[in-house]
Subunit: 86 residues, 2 copies
Amino acid sequence: MPRIVVDVMPKPEILDPQGKAIAGALPRIGLTGFASVRQGKRFELSVDGEVTEQILEQAHQAAATLLSNPVIEDVTRVEVIEEDAS
Amino acid sequence: MPRIVVDVMPKPEILDPQGKAIAGALPRIGLTGFASVRQGKRFELSVDGEVTEQILEQAHQAAATLLSNPVIEDVTRVEVIEEDAS
């Protein structure tokens, strides 16, 4: 079953407290290789049958309205994946 | 600045109430092309300088311990991206 992946990340100028908390926790478990962390969301929309132009357009609409808040978040990816594992 | 992307998704056998809520909301705004939705997390770990083998190994460790709960989630991707936009 094909899926459409939608990635949503906090805008660069928006504070990301979850990312900051992770960045603070990493050194405490000995992982010191990272300068900063941002946390976003990843959605997988499953499609019955083929991904038509119309369904891809629907995915873009969903990404821009339901899946992200355009005031504080950017949609960084809307992409069809066909394989079972991603 | 290179970044390492970590994707974490709920295991297929685990109920995903957020995904279910989105799947229920899509038809209400006229988007009827989707069979189901899963919601996961996407992390971007920024690295100062080069991504060495050691830092990539640290990213895998972070993904398996801090960024995911292995009881209910799968790490589906740990990948270096070099470009500014993803």
